[in-house]
Amino acid sequence: MTDPLDDLDRDILRRIGRYDPPPADLDERVLFALALTDLEDEVARLAEEVAPAARAGEQARTITFDAASRTVMITVLERPDGLVRLDGWLAPGAALSVELRLPSPAPPRTVTADETGRFVLDEVPHGLAQLVIHGTPRVVTPSLLL
């Protein structure tokens, strides 16, 4: 059913395959996001990402995730020391535990949102991360590249 490929065919396919391969870290990002997820979780989808706006010398971008039960919005601020600060907001607001998963061996960071749903995660390293909102149901985001 398959015609054997000769050298020219193989050269052509190799040249086509060189462009637009999946990102080198795609598998890693998927597996990181899946490591925790189970049946009961609700998946939050990336709804909007607003580009970094230079705001009084600060670099900030805002990312919104929508799940069926809740919306999670975070603003990622670059700190002068190379770390980032996340200002987050849950809607509807609730004093829930918010966990930021980081690739092992870094332990997860956990804070509790206030009654209005606001939370802050500061001094977070760049790289892969995933937000887990411990409500009912638990809400997980895809892997974020901070």
Partner: protein
């Protein structure tokens, strides 16, 4: 690439909590899902995100999926649907003048010629763009995976399973003919 039977074994093991099996499943199917998302015209970051979302949704449905063919079909359908929604959303977001990162991308954009160091690549992509959409989809996926599984590809692009082999041969022959007839290909 994996046969249906092998995917089935991986799926069963993944369902029982075997992380290594899940890893293999992700490795096997990510290149196909990537092309499905990109083929819908998504920018790279959006495509990567949609592929992740599809896997996250799969984890919630793992117990409902009975056969390996179903897992592949399910992931591909989900990726296509998520990509479509993402497209609609970025279109909708544009007119309000926001600084949305995503602009509406060209469907299946050709690679940027400026990135090509190799003259033969430039010649190849010029001819590639004249192929039918079906040929372009098929050759790009076949080029991405070793020993591609025709069942998966048929599923991904909505083609009859039996037509994949002949279509691939026809598309490749067409591109070859155009290249060998082009003096720029021969001399570069």
């Amino acid at each position: 690439m994996w046969s249906d039977a092998q995917l089935g074994t991986l799926l069963e093991r993944a369902r029982d909590g075997d992380r290594e099996a899940l890893r293999e499943l992700v490795r096997a199917l990510d290149p196909v899902l990537w092309r499905v998302a990109r083929g819908q015209g998504l920018a790279t970051e959006d495509a990567a995100d949609v592929v992740q979302t599809s896997w996250l949704e799969l984890m919630r449905r793992l117990h409902e999926i009975r056969t390996p063919r179903a897992v592949t079909a399910w992931l591909i359908t989900t990726t296509r649907r998520e990509a479509w929604h993402r497209q609609q959303r970025s279109r909708r977001d544009l007119p309000d003048g926001g600084t949305a990162v995503q602009t509406v991308p060209d469907p299946d954009p050709p690679p940027d010629e400026r990135l090509m160091a190799d003259e033969r690549d430039r010649v190849l992509w010029r001819h590639f763009e004249h192929l039918s959409q079906r040929c372009r989809d098929l050759l790009r996926i076949v080029a991405q995976v070793d020993r591609p599984d025709y069942t998966v590809i048929a599923e991904a692009f909505g083609m009859p399973h039996g037509s994949i082999g002949p279509t691939r041969s026809r598309c490749l022959a067409k591109l070859r003919a155009a290249l060998t007839a082009d003096p720029a290909w021969a001399t570069s």
